[in-house]
Chain length 232, copies 2
DNA sequence: GGCTCCTGTTGAACGCGTTCAACTTTTCGT
DNA sequence: ACGAAAAGTTGAACGCGTTCAACAGGAGCC
């Protein structure tokens, strides 16, 4: 390839030609998705906008659906950036959960019109875009790590027997929020924001209550069940 | 239409020609879906199998996706039939929940290979097939009614302040089960069955615990939130 | 019967996502 | 520097879901 020999693998100004073509296609796709939505954006248009042939676009992306992965990566990074200030300053757990969730809702706002279409594709179990698929395992891991940060940086003490599973549980709850958001047609995602605002304190209280003897056995059962389900 | 004047609206032996064509198409579609899956079944093949032209199939069904509605209706009825014996004999709430859930899993078993594809379509918010859409409101209502029966016929007392919302909450929890089932690749849906078996007693215990003063306020808050979310 | 609607019915045609044989360019061992 | 293998690139072609102008038949009215 046109890369200088021995250069560092991915310097921003001089990406390999292949990498540049790749991101030109994603760039074109996202622009068009935003302008005309997912369904009304044709692969022919994406290729033309990126200055390549249709066949070439398919050399880099196995399908139109795969272009969405590029969107995910970008959105994930944007979310991180928007969530970091909250995680750096706020110590109250409920506020951290709310802050990180709202950060996500805000970064996704520009894409809301067509993001529903995306997540529907992701809902199909055989799709590599599914948040539970092995293909999206890296994205999932880093997303769960984000929720671990939410917990770790807070002043709330988590019971030992919950500590390991709780980040994943928060992530799962957040996936529920995303599902709600997808179906939420209210202005400015007001309903989703209400859901988050009202749910976050309940989660914190539930964590506190999970120490109570009446609940402890039940909660421990559920945590054990999750472990079982993952290994079955 | 060819219907005798003043005849009862839909006598089984002599359906109107239109209705017969309609169900011939659904019949053909389901047969082919089962044989070759959703994606590998073409509308041309469905039309041929039903003995009509492609255009005619589109006269009765707005899209290939709409054929799925026929599948839903059928599956819903089958589930009812399979659940009724449980509801008629069993009084223990956990057993009723498990029985009705397992009945669903069993009736859906033959369709599992392609049902995931269906539910993915249903996950798209704008789709009329979405369980939350206005188009599927009748199916949703009757499904919630089923879960009301589950509660009403049991010997468990439900706190007043929960009684109104609980059937819908059980339905919602069951939608979660369905989502899990869609992603469950285990033999005979073993993981989903484990989930149901272990979750049902927890639900019953949670209903009992919801009377406790420590929890009551929180649970009431959540119930109130649901009400708010629906009206916003 | 003749006329007008409305309900059905048809298959060719359209635009789409995707594939593929053919071609060009780059890489790399010698 | 050379040549073969690998990587990149092309657009016509395929099969699909879907649309639509055109046509057929029956119901109701005169």
């Amino acid at each position: 390839m046109g890369e200088p020999v021995g250069a560092d693998p991915d310097p921003a100004p001089s990406l390999s030609k292949a990498a540049r073509t790749r991101s030109a296609i994603i760039e074109a796709a996202l622009r068009l998705f935003r302008e005309k939505g997912y369904d009304d954006t044709t692969m022919r248009a994406v290729a033309a906008e990126a200055g390549v042939s249709v066949g070439n676009a398919y050399y880099y992306f196995a399908s139109k659906e795969q272009l969405i992965q590029g969107f995910y990566d970008r959105a994930g990074a944007e979310h991180r950036a928007a969530a970091d200030p909250v995680l750096a300053t706020e110590r109250d757990l409920a506020a951290r959960i709310m802050g990180v969730s709202h950060a996500w809702i805000d970064t996704m706002a520009p894409y809301r019109s067509f993001a529903g279409r995306f997540f529907a594709n992701a809902a199909e179990p055989t799709s590599p875009l599914s948040p539970f698929s092995t293909e999206s395992s890296p994205a999932r891991t880093s997303s769960i790590a984000l929720w671990r940060d939410v917990l770790d940086g807070s002043d709330t003490k988590v019971p030992r027997y919950l500590a390991d599973e709780l980040p994943e549980l928060l992530w799962l709850a957040f996936m529920g929020t995303v599902l709600f958001w997808v179906h939420d047609a209210s202005d400015d995602a007001a309903r989703t924001k209400l859901l988050v605002t009202r749910t976050a304190p309940v989660i914190v209280r539930a964590i506190g209550l999970s120490r109570l003897p009446v609940l402890r056995a039940t909660v421990a059962d559920l945590v054990g069940l999750i472990g079982e389900l993952k290994t079955l």
